[in-house]
Amino acid sequence: MVFLEAEMSWNVLISPSQLDRKGLLLRKAIIVRLLEDVTNRRASKEHGYYIAVNQLKAISEGKVRELTGDVLFPVSFTCITQKPMKGEVMVGHVDRILKHGVFLKSGPVESIFLAEKSMSNYKYIGGENAMFMNDHSKLEKDTAVRFKVLGFRWMEADRQFQLLATIAGDFLGPL
């Protein structure tokens, strides 16, 4: 997968009780709140997964919200993100094996479906340690797999992406 270092500008809300602090303490409160906000938001349809704040660029002057007394600080920073892309070739590992296909995971992307019908000549072999096999190789739990993204959708309720994968193609499949 390809990661990005994306430029971001978010508004960070600081409550009045935290405003008693001066100088470095206020700056720290803003940074802590930013890190919390990034973690809590987890992902968005626009940016993909928010993995880590990388560089803090600027904290601009705060604006008071009249009703609550909270102060909104615009913060510019860079963030390491990962967003799926149709046609991208990625590496993941097998998480679950079902008769009609395989579920893969790849870094922050935890819901990737590889349908049995897109696995060309692999056959399902059931049992306690289920797997898919062909003449040359097999997919079982934790096998590393190189796959291509056929498509994806954003699931707002779970704040995650679901990917549809294929290994039909040259140089794709178990590693």
């Binding site: 990005l4 802590v32 919390e36 993995i51 046609g87 070739v89 193609g169 140089f171």
Partner: protein, 144 residues
């Protein structure tokens, strides 16, 4: 399932954010995240602070880049980007090649079809150029 039909990495039809942002290889992200993890660990030992918690997205990504990075040494990582930067690649192409480390020009163009468009690697001389690029990459790995 509906994807974003107007975007397709294979044809380098990629979103605006990929064009604006700097793309990063797995091995580059590994260095950044491991450094941040060390910082977080140091911070966690000194005080209990919400910013010292590691998010699940961070943790999954760190596990992933550690498992699948081909280059571990920071100098080697810099050399990979330096080497690939000489060949007029788009950021996304550079990172895909740096992540997947194809062995042959056939493998490279199968995984990154956009290499063959745009006139950079045309015909047999283009394949030779790709082979040269991949050979440069394998030398970095050899001497890591």
């Amino acid at each position: 399932m509906s994807g974003e039909e107007e975007e397709n990495a294979a044809e380098l039809k990629i979103g605006e954010e990929f064009l604006k942002a700097k793309c990063l290889m797995n091995c580059e992200v590994a260095i950044i995240l491991e450094h941040k993890y060390e910082q977080i660990q140091q911070h966690a030992s000194s005080e209990s602070d919400p910013s010292s918690q590691v998010s699940q997205v961070f943790e999954k990504s760190l596990q992933y880049v550690k498992r699948f990075s081909r280059y571990k040494n920071p100098d080697a990582v810099r050399q990979v980007r330096e080497t690939l930067s000489r060949y007029g690649l788009a950021e996304f192409e550079l990172c895909t090649l740096g992540n997947l480390c194809p062995d042959t020009s056939g493998e490279a163009t199968a995984l990154v079809p956009s290499l063959k468009s745009g006139g950079r690697f045309v015909g047999d001389p283009g394949d030779e150029k790709i082979e040269k690029m991949l050979n440069d990459l394998s030398l970095i790995k050899k001497f890591e």
